[in-house]
């Protein structure tokens, strides 16, 4: 029983972590928390659903179409919503993302309706493999583990060694200095939003496969993923994934012992950790002098 709790906690935690990474990428570049992240993933998942059920294309093709759509959506939101803002404050940008969230939710409701739908995902939660006596792992969980690991390693290397990744970090630390150094910060922002939207769309498809697809289905996962990102440290990609895994494990163990407290236990833990370590468990704490 404990082994099963660990496996399931790790799986859902990795999914929180994966989605938290999408939130963290934008934060790393612009210090903006994108409250439309969940709905961007939701719209992309609806596009995948539409392509799969209306045009009956193979899953791999639907996946590619969705990824392209997700990247374009991310860039579109950055270009159309955030870029036109004149001398924006961080708070102002966050409010713009809230507006985008409502717009996307309304759009999904109008196009696909509010009725729940079953998302035909490649990896099923119902197909299980008994890896040890009494311990089963489903295909969905295995997919999350692999994908979270691959994306985490890729992003870690990307931000550390690639020119674009270094440009993104430089933009986050000082936009004006980055401009002076020849970095085209507007292009960096667009690419950041595209990457974030892509990773968010992948995570959203995993969440939809586990529950149902409707215009609200990403609201709660976004809250958890954001909490995971804060727990691990919003500027640390590995930290976000570890934060998600910790969240999944804490919730599952606590939820088993005291189910009525499960929805809030994660947030209580996070409040405690943030009080002790404001930048999260794994991020470096920067102090800006005025």
């Amino acid at each position: 029983m404990i082994e099963q709790l660990i496996v399931e906690g790790l799986a859902i935690g990795a999914c929180y972590g994966l989605f938290g990474v999408a939130v963290a990428i934008i934060y790393k570049t612009s210090e903006v928390v994108n409250f439309a992240q969940g709905e961007m993933g939701m719209i992309a998942t609806f596009v995948a659903f539409h392509v799969l059920t209306v045009y009956h294309v193979p899953f791999w093709l639907a996946f590619i179409i969705t990824m392209v759509f997700a990247m374009l959506l991310g860039m579109l939101i950055e270009i159309c919503f955030l870029r036109p803002a004149k001398d924006p404050t961080v708070l102002g940008l966050i409010i713009i993302t809230l507006g985008a969230e409502m717009l996307l939710m309304g759009l999904a409701g109008w196009k696909w309706g509010a009725e729940q739908k079953d998302f035909p995902f490649l990896l099923s939660v119902q197909k299980t493999h008994e890896i040890l006596p009494g311990l089963t792992v489903n295909e969905w969980s295995m997919g999350v583990f692999v994908l979270a690991a691959v994306i985490m390693v890729f992003l870690f290397l990307f931000f550390r060694y690639s020119r674009l990744g270094i440009a993104m970090r430089a933009t986050q630390q000082n936009v004006n200095a980055a401009k002076i150094m020849g970095i085209k910060v507007e292009r960096v922002f667009s690419i950041t939003w595209a990457m974030s939207s892509l990773i968010g769309a992948v995570a959203a498809m995993f969440f939809a496969a586990r529950s149902v697809l409707d215009p609200n289905f990403m609201m709660e996962p976004f809250m958890r993923a954001f909490a995971a990102a804060v727990l691990g440290g919003l500027t640390s990609i590995p930290g976000v994934v570890v934060g998600g895994i910790l969240l999944g494990l804490i919730e599952n163990f606590f939820g088993y012992a005291w189910p009525e407290w499960k929805p809030i236990v994660a947030f209580v833990v996070i409040i405690i950790i943030i009080t002790v370590r404001p930048s999260g468990l794994f991020a470096k704490h920067y102090i800006k002098k005025v």
Partner: protein
């Protein structure tokens, strides 16, 4: 400038004087009776919006048959998006601008509670609230008449079915952590107490939870053969998918809120097959003359509408008002209609038998028990059954 301000002031005063006058309209004339309903046509609860449209089908059929004593029903649906603030706005609009005679249905406990007092003060009849909220009818409100069986009664009847028909010894209860779930749990507990039994696990869930592994493992570890659930469709779907993951296959028994098999079968990817539910209306596929007539009418008036449980619920909730209006005769008034509603006895069409008295405005304590078959077929397991433990029938004034 002063003259302009003076004129605007006069216009405002005249407008304010006119508004109450329209609110005092009787809600009918020689040609029509105006009836309204709010319901979520957009937003997160839009799947339940079919209730309001189902009532519309009934009124279309009534009008096609010549109306009620020469009066056609003029029906107003307003979208409140399942938002109580919106409900207040649309209900005020229908009462004060359109001058409706009565409301039927109305999805959402919180939405209904937001307008309950307003409707009472304006002496507007409200039949068949589409939520089993005890506050609506306990203590009885003069203008509200409930059809929807109470969740406590349903919990009790379903638990009895599980113990006596399924012969289950270890039963779990999975419930939404609000009045809906807790009322169902209370009914189940009271029933189990008569067998000197307890639930092996009682596990609450918040409506938005997406990971239910720990809860399902707890049921599995407790050895629950049957799990009763009073939750929403999304939580039910996640619960069934999670159980498939952990190789746990209890018999699921659910409240009537999940009795739309077409929807549940689809969103669970077929896992809903075999699930037993309560039901406050006939199975949509039943071969019954009245149901067949409505089915044909739906092809004519609403060909795009899915013929499901909630669409039929709209008929079930509105039907007693139509019956009372017919009994009133040509001399219609709110008082005359109330008199007929208060004396309705064992009235049954495609829902449960409905009885109201001046002291009891909860119309029924009966449900059917159904099972989801292959391809979302409805299989009737138990015909209308009332709750012999329901105390409200004996002491209505004391129930809160």
């Amino acid at each position: 400038m002063k003259k302009v301000m003076f004129c605007m002031g006069i216009i405002c005063v005249v407008f304010l004087m006119v508004t109450p006058a329209s609110a005092a309209r009787p809600g009918f004339d020689k040609k029509e009776i105006r009836i309204g309903q709010w319901g979520p046509q957009t937003g997160p609860a839009a799947p339940w919006g079919s209730v309001a449209r189902g009532s519309g089908l009934l009124f279309n059929v009534v009008n096609e048959q010549g109306g009620i004593h020469g009066r056609k029903i003029k029906y107003f649906i307003r979208d409140d998006q399942y938002n109580p603030a919106q409900t207040v706005a649309v209900v005020k609009e229908l009462v004060e601008r359109e001058g409706v005679f009565a409301f039927v249905g109305g999805v959402g406990g919180a939405c209904g509670k937001a307008v309950m007092d307003y409707l009472g003060k304006n002496k507007i009849i409200w039949v068949g609230p589409s939520a089993a909220i005890t506050d609506f009818v306990f203590p009885p409100k003069p203008y509200i008449f409930a059809v929807y069986p109470l969740y406590e009664d349903e919990g009790s009847i379903l638990t009895k079915f599980v113990v006596e028909k399924l012969k289950a010894k270890k039963i779990g209860f999975f419930y939404q952590n609000d009045a809906y779930g807790k009322d169902g749990l209370e009914g189940g507990r009271k029933r189990l107490a008569t067998y000197q039994m307890n639930f092996v696990e009682e596990i609450p869930v918040e409506p938005g939870e997406k990971d239910l592994t720990s809860q399902m493992l707890k049921f599995k570890n407790a050895g629950a053969e049957v799990v009763l659930m009073f939750v929403n469709p999304t939580v039910a779907t996640i619960a069934l998918k999670t159980c498939a993951t952990i190789d746990y296959k209890p018999q699921w028994v659910s409240s009537d809120t999940l009795s739309d098999y077409g929807l549940m079968f689809k969103i669970t990817g077929g896992l809903w097959e075999g699930v037993i539910t309560g039901a406050f209306g006939m199975t949509p596929t039943a071969d019954h003359p009245l149901l067949n007539m409505y089915r044909e009418a739906a092809k004519k008036y609403a060909p795009e509408e899915r013929w499901g449980t909630f669409y039929l619920a709209g008929i079930v909730f509105a039907d007693p008002l139509v019956e009372a209006l017919k009994r009133v005769g040509p001399k219609l008034s709110t008082e005359a209609c109330l008199k007929q509603l208060n004396s309705l006895k064992d009235h049954q069409t495609i829902g449960p038998k409905v009885t109201w008295t001046p002291q009891i405005h909860q119309g029924t304590d009966s449900i059917q028990v159904q099972k989801c078959g292959p391809n979302a077929e409805y299989i009737l397991l138990q015909d209308w059954t009332s709750n012999d433990l329901a105390t409200w029938k004996k002491q209505p004034a004391k129930k809160k």
